[in-house]
């Protein structure tokens, strides 16, 4: 298959996910191996950004044939090189296996996770070296900027973006062209362009991956935006938790400056623009526009009353256009391909594509980009491969702590701004967490509400005081002390917080509770009325028992129990002291699968001896 005179490339992912599996060392091993085998003239090793299939990482692709290897280890390097380039056969044991059919899929293009996607924003992710501007330029990068500077007036750029129907990808979906127009028309000067890369939603990593894999696409979008609104200064606000994204965007800035694509008199024109990187300091609320700008100014990130909106009074009180990473990355495509092309993708009200970070109880976890209007079912089952381990789908959560949990009956909803919000969730910035029968919806509601409580800036009373009070009720429910009126009281308090809080954090914090009660009320009622957690998650409502007819008295559980709650002896049926048990499930994990003697239950008791007794003859055997 391999031809010796063709230039081959071995692409290796160096996103955060794959790097945590030592992909930097694998790269080095591959480089050494290629050199060692005398293949340096025909085989090139290229470090790329994230392919968005992190779960299968580290990922290696051999181009141009598109051979796709997963879970590559350092010690695999010699074989990866030898098998294909010397023996002419790909290395089968590293092929991706379809989670449903278990069949090996050797080629990138045949993997359903990718073939069912429509990648525009993620177009270059995993295919170019993010630290080489020439790689980006070779894919047509910066041609949109050249076109804008050489042949378009700012108003033409704004008009084009407006006609494309592009809406902000940070979650709220505000029309980008309209925002730019308002910033353009604002009288005060100077003006600022700010990129919101404070991707704080837990369970979301789209922006991180784009900044790591294709930083120039975002930078190009920012430069075009600044040209359109008439700004000469910009900032990108990136979470400090994303060190690799910070580093790569910094490299992109330096390279763009060297190419005269950034800085003074860009491409010989009169237009000048400069960008600085500002690292966030770990406050979720700073994803909110006004809080983000206060944070850049060096203040506590506490949102303010709007209006005025930031296009009129943003950074230091000056006109500022704040857009999301994915919004900026879409702009060069719109300029190059035209507004009509972009408007042809997606639905009536939501144009273009949506990028999701598909995670949780899902077979194929990673980044997914589909046209707006694609159904949730297509994303979860066709691309995501459904719920693994023979478990059943229960819910899909979109929109992070501001969003909601949607049940199976909502799976045929089209994914767009309107449909999701009508169903009680939101599009959000793109987190999509799949939950199965072992996920407790009350526990998830508690999780999100605790998150918002911790991240509340403390400015508005309903958010600062209301969320902790709601958590008290939730803890009562998950603690087995729920009162009949608790559910309706939670609904009432949610209403107060929504009406009384100022910013997006507070007004959406009750969403996970509302959608959870709306769709999974029976689960809530089981907790409140029967003191039972059907998913066997809420600790005060579950118990562990050792089944006398299965226990073989091996003692592994007793030795591993951190609470010393298990007693027994050789050939004795072991017993858990329920008053000492901390429900850590260590025994369940340690009990050898051939015995499977530990049972987890909720709302029922299992008949067990009070004290250890000798094992009955024949127990544990079939």
């Amino acid at each position: 298959m391999a031809q010796s005179n063709t230039k081959h490339q071995i692409l290796i992912c160096q996103g955060s996910g794959c790097e945590s599996s030592k992909s930097d060392k694998i790269t080095k091993a591959l480089v050494d191996e290629v050199k060692h085998s005398g293949l340096s003239d025909t085989v090139q090793i290229k470090a790329t950004g994230c392919h968005g299939f992190c779960q299968q990482g580290p990922i290696v692709i051999i181009e141009p044939d598109g051979i796709f290897y997963t879970g590559v280890k350092i010690e695999d390097a010699p074989e990866v090189v030898k098998s294909y380039f010397v023996d002419g056969k790909p290395l089968e044991r590293l092929f991706y296996h379809d989670p449903i059919t278990s069949k090996a899929v050797p080629l990138y293009k045949d993997i359903q996770f990718y073939s069912q996607q429509h990648r525009l924003i993620l177009r270059n992710c995993g295919h170019i070296n993010p630290e080489e501007i020439d790689d980006y330029i070779a894919t047509g990068g910066y041609t949109a900027l050249k076109k804008v500077i050489s042949s378009m007036e700012p108003t033409q750029v704004i008009n084009e973006v407006q006609r494309s129907g592009l809406r902000g990808r940070g979650g709220a979906g505000f029309p980008t062209g309209k925002k730019w127009e308002e910033a353009y028309k604002a009288k005060a000067n100077p003006k600022f362009v700010v990129c919101n890369a404070d991707e704080g939603d837990p369970g979301a990593f789209m922006d991180r991956s784009i900044l790591e894999a294709d930083p120039h696409s975002v930078l190009e979008g920012m430069i075009i935006a600044s040209y359109a609104i008439g700004s000469s200064n910009g900032y990108i606000y990136v979470r400090a938790e994303y060190p690799l994204a910070v580093k790569r965007f910094g490299i992109a800035i330096d390279q763009a400056k060297k190419h005269n694509l950034l800085g003074n008199n860009i491409l010989g024109s009169k237009f000048s623009f400069d960008v600085d990187v500002m690292q966030g300091a770990g406050a979720f609320v700073c994803g909110e526009g006004s809080a983000l700008m206060y944070s850049i100014e060096g203040k506590r990130g506490m949102p303010r009353v709007r209006p005025p909106r930031s296009v009129a009074s943003g950074l230091w009180g000056l006109p500022t256009s704040l857009n999301n990473v994915k919004t900026f990355a879409s702009v060069p495509l719109i300029i190059n391909n035209g507004a009509d092309w972009y408007a042809g993708i997606g639905t009536e009200g939501s144009k273009g594509t949506a990028v999701f970070a598909l995670t949780g109880k899902i077979a194929n976890s990673g980044l997914v980009e589909v046209p707006m209007g694609t159904t949730l079912r297509h994303v979860v089952f066709d691309i995501g491969g459904g719920v693994p381990g023979g478990k059943h789908f229960k819910a899909v959560q979109t929109g992070g702590p501001s969003g909601g949990c949607l049940p199976g009956s909502a799976l045929d909803l089209p994914v767009d701004f309107e449909s999701l919000s009508k169903a009680g969730s939101i599009m959000g910035s793109g987190g999509m967490v799949v939950m199965d029968e072992e996920t407790c919806m009350v526990d998830v509601a508690h999780y999100f509400l605790s998150f918002c409580r911790d991240e509340s800036c403390g400015k508005c009373v309903p958010c600062r005081e209301g969320l902790p009070l709601m958590i008290d009720i939730l803890e009562r429910i998950t603690g087995g002390k729920g009162k009949p009126e608790d559910i309706s009281r939670l609904l009432e308090m949610s209403d107060t917080v929504i009406k009384g809080a100022l910013c997006g954090l507070g007004t959406t914090a009750p969403n996970p509770i509302l959608s959870s009660i709306r769709y999974f009320r029976d689960e809530w009622e089981a907790h409140v009325n029967e003191k039972r957690c059907p998913a066997l998650v809420c600790k005060p409502l579950i118990n562990f028992y050792i089944l006398p007819d299965k226990c073989q008295g091996c003692g592994i559980c007793a030795r591993s129990c951190p609470a010393e709650a298990i007693t027994g002896g050789k050939r004795m049926v072991h017993v858990i002291d329920q008053s000492k048990c901390i429900k850590c499930a260590t025994c369940l994990e340690k009990c050898p699968p051939k015995f499977s003697a530990i049972k987890k239950v909720s709302g029922e008791t299992v008949e067990v001896p009070p004290e250890p007794v000798p094992i009955a003859a024949g127990a544990g055997t079939k």
Partner: protein, 163 residues
């Protein structure tokens, strides 16, 4: 007294590059924490002087953001991710296992300053959930068994399965 002056001098050196910049406060706090591992009182004072704001203001900003700490951290900073994807894949149990292994609660540091334990809202490696970070290294697909292997010295006191 000497150490105090040395510390101040060190802090002043760290924050000197931010002088006269448009954005001073948070980057200066970040720079000091990166070098020293925490923000001593002296840093608040020096940064306030540089930015032209009161020490109180600096303290107010520093305590608003989760990234900053006012006490020294352990040599190995263990941060268990509590993001949504990690949560549904059992990060709470991982956190409890780490707490047991290190005999620490979240926010604490061992008396020998070897380890400190914290949680992080999301490190964005959700496809590898549950995850944990030890200093700059991300560990994915963590199990309670992996926790025992990562922290063997402390975990040993607990049951070792008999052969």
């Amino acid at each position: 007294m000497t150490t105090d002056t040395e510390l101040r001098k060190q802090i002043r050196d760290i924050i000197a590059p931010f002088k006269g910049r448009q954005i001073v406060l948070i980057p200066a706090l970040q720079a000091v924490q990166e070098k020293l591992g925490y923000l001593p009182q002296e840093a608040m004072e020096e940064i306030g002087a540089l930015a032209g704001v009161s020490t109180n203001t600096v303290y107010g900003v520093a305590t608003f953001y989760a990234q900053f700490r006012t006490t020294p951290a352990g040599k190995r900073r263990v941060a268990v991710c509590r993001g949504t994807a990690c949560h549904v894949r059992g990060s709470e149990r991982i956190l409890e296992a780490v707490e047991r292994a290190l005999r620490l609660k979240v926010g604490e540091t061992t008396s020998d300053r070897e380890y400190s334990l914290e949680t992080v809202a999301c490190i964005g490696a959700c496809a590898l959930a549950p995850t944990m970070r030890i200093n700059e290294d991300t560990h994915g697909k963590i199990t309670t068994k992996a926790v025992e292997e990562l922290f063997p010295r402390k975990a040993k006191q607990e049951g070792t399965p008999e052969k």
